[in-house]
Symmetry: C2
Subunit: 334 residues, 2 copies
Amino acid sequence: MAKSPTVYDVAQAAGVSIATVSFTFSRPSRVKPATRAAVLAAAQALGYVPSASARGLAVGHTKSFGLIFWDGSTPPAGRFDQVNAGLRHFPRWVHEVQYGIERAAWSQGYAIMVGDGDASDVDTTAVDIAGRVDGLVLLPHMLTPETLMRVAERIPVVSVTEGADHPHLNSITVDNRQGMTDLVRHLVEAHGIRSAEFVGATGTPDYRARFAAFRDTLEEAGIPAPAAPAAAFPTSHDRTDAYVCRTDADALALLEQLQARGVRVPEDVIVTGFDGLAAGLIARPTLTSVRQPMHDLGVAAVELLLNRIADPESPTEHRRFPVELTVRQSCGCR
Amino acid sequence: MAKSPTVYDVAQAAGVSIATVSFTFSRPSRVKPATRAAVLAAAQALGYVPSASARGLAVGHTKSFGLIFWDGSTPPAGRFDQVNAGLRHFPRWVHEVQYGIERAAWSQGYAIMVGDGDASDVDTTAVDIAGRVDGLVLLPHMLTPETLMRVAERIPVVSVTEGADHPHLNSITVDNRQGMTDLVRHLVEAHGIRSAEFVGATGTPDYRARFAAFRDTLEEAGIPAPAAPAAAFPTSHDRTDAYVCRTDADALALLEQLQARGVRVPEDVIVTGFDGLAAGLIARPTLTSVRQPMHDLGVAAVELLLNRIADPESPTEHRRFPVELTVRQSCGCR
DNA sequence: TTGAAAGCGGTACCAC
DNA sequence: GTGGTACCGCTTTCAA
């Protein structure tokens, strides 16, 4: 790993000044063809790779966005781990959103820097990443208000989370309440359930919104709603008509468990998810769920960032996306 | 987005020099507690977020690794697109490898920068990313030799690809041949297949190795081997005993199609994958495949990068990982 | 069209 | 223990 060549080396080799080298790359038309060719040749010969740090320092931005996520998909320890070791981390909601983010960012010439969302000290991580990029997206956000303020005052930040409010924070949310309401109503009206359990911890505002809607809709139908989510994954076949999971990942894992124990879905019990991951189509029974427009969420996140960069004075934006009840086999339809 | 404060601002606010501010963050113990507190307070009050560009320029490295991938999971256009629109991009092999990379990198304090592997000009992208990071991993690599040399001479590069050889290039590979050989032998010996098709284009060295092993093993068993992979996804139920897919993603999509057409797997035809994605367990029938240690591949990639950074003079490394035949329902077992 | 030179925001060596 | 200061590599006026 020899010390890498700089503009100075290239300039010297090409017999021009460093300014000319710089211009050759940034505004080729402002350089005489012959000179340009000489510079390019020298650069190629030397194996010149421009330093992004130097450029970033000089121009004041890095052409990259940061991404910090935590989707709570890492399930609680315990039997779940043993039963579903292979499913623990995949499929993930974040991957589908990230795909949209990457495509949108790349198309605009931005690279994506992903930071450790599960770090013990997310705040430090966030500040570190914030120092490297032109914008930050949080999936969802779990930063302290202080850190959030610190970061959001420096670069645009968009949180893909329910209930994110801060003067400098942009947000993208989905209609968790509507989605869960539609889902539960469907279970009640089309399948006549008389009881249901909510599966999965409510660690984020989104999950809490889903749980709240789950309860409200159940009660509204005159069905007793559990006061809290099932503590852990159901261990035996509890007497319930439906397991309403907080995410598809949980539902998919639960499906596994249930089948391993010989419990039939949907004949013995209904199972539903939330998110609409592609994997829900692969499973058998296919998974009834509430679909979020993941790709669009990612694209929108980048859009908000770009808007704010184009016009720093523009007001923060909050976009809420609709979701769609996707009825499939695991609830007994089809 | 007010202009963000710098060390100078913090220094002034705290009534110290910029050197002291710098030390407060890098070597807190070398600064008197009272001074340190003052600096920290000023930094907090001002919302100081250190510029990674400035630091990177000063220290000569960025504490981040680049990641450029292309897993060929985007299937050819045509009917496949229509039939499996939702499955097109997920699940992906790269995500499982990426997970290992991220965990390993993060644990060492490195961030991950992901670049556009599908860019029309991957080489330019690669050079751009290379200028931002301390090491690069290619999943797999599809760069021109020139670009590869240019980049690999500046920072350590590891390619997660079969047949990568370049003096400065480290590589991680899996035993494609052994895996495919085991798989085909199993189909012949345990299921008595007398014909088989290979599904999926052979666009990378890994895929080619799989196809070659597929052919060799078939011929060795006295079974006529197709001269080329099935041109596209099987359109009607061609007469064959087994569809051996080049990846799990393809196999999963094929499973979908087949089921939609009422073809039973494995009763009517056997379907197998390659990779061992977690999604193979979600599908019904569960997918017979050849499992790669994805997480370990990612961890190893980071390890090689770290090794090279610790000792730039150390020779390049090439690690080959074993794979494991995973027999499940889609071939008729269990 | 090209060159000289002043930053950009940190780091770290060397004095004090 | 703290401050002064010379870089790090590139961009970008301003002159020539």
